[in-house]
């Protein structure tokens, strides 16, 4: 099964989103989080991200789809990716998806046994999801 890693500048945001995702998609999908800095402030940590990625990949996962809250997390993520073995790195897909919608959609597709490419596509499609009812 494909897992997710959610990266946020806030550990509470990441934890809350993990709860939401578990409620919608069920608890069979592995959802790793990396929120905040190493000393618990707002920000991102390459160490925390690398740890979350390793944990998600170690679980026998086909791969991991990564979602970020803001683009400024990308640098920490890049550093974390450099820490991974090439074989592990090849199983990680980083998406532009909006964090909340992307996480929910990706987790539901992962929960039904979708492939890494399918889960990545589900996350990417989240940009098309309207927040407000139309018409």
């Amino acid at each position: 099964m494909v897992g997710l890693v959610l990266i946020s500048h806030s550990s509470r945001l990441a934890e809350g989103l993990r709860d939401m995702v578990a409620q919608v998609a069920g608890d069979r999908v592995a959802v790793g989080i990396a929120g905040g800095t190493d000393d618990g402030r707002l920000g991102t940590s390459a160490l925390r991200i690398a740890a979350a990625l390793r944990l998600a990949l170690a679980d026998g996962a086909e791969g991991v789809v990564v979602l970020l809250d803001l683009g400024s997390a990308a640098l920490s993520l890049e550093l974390a990716m450099e820490e991974l073995d090439p074989a592990d790195r090849a199983r990680v897909r980083i998406t532009e998806a909006p964090l909340v919608e992307g996480a929910v959609l990706a987790a539901v597709q992962a929960s039904v046994g979708a492939s890494l490419a399918e889960v990545e596509a589900a996350a990417a499609a989240a940009v098309t999801l309207a927040k407000l009812p139309r018409g």
Binding site: V104, S111, A125, T128, P133, R134
Partner: protein
């Protein structure tokens, strides 16, 4: 191709959690399963497709399946939706 018309009776429509449960239930079947609403059709095994239909209170939807387990799929998915829908036919 067996199909069934249903009407949404939940004030919130088909929202994220029931839609997710529905996708999970649909994915257990081999058949190609779709929901039609408002002139559009969504793959019942894709949450983004399903949410894209914007199914709301009193929306009439058609559940259709095509494949070796189509009848069983329609029966099981109708049960899955029962708390949110009233049968129209």
């Amino acid at each position: 191709m067996p199909e069934l018309t249903l009407t949404v009776s939940d004030p919130a429509g088909l929202h994220a959690r029931p839609a997710a449960r529905f996708v999970q239930a649909a994915s257990r079947f081999e058949s190609h399963i779709v929901i039609r609403h408002g002139g559009r059709e969504a793959d019942a095994k894709s949450l983004i497709a399903l949410l894209g239909l914007v199914i709301r209170l009193s929306s009439e939807i058609v559940l259709a399946a095509d494949g070796p387990d189509a009848e069983a799929a329609i029966a099981a998915l109708t049960m899955e939706l029962a708390p949110y829908l009233g049968s129209a036919s």
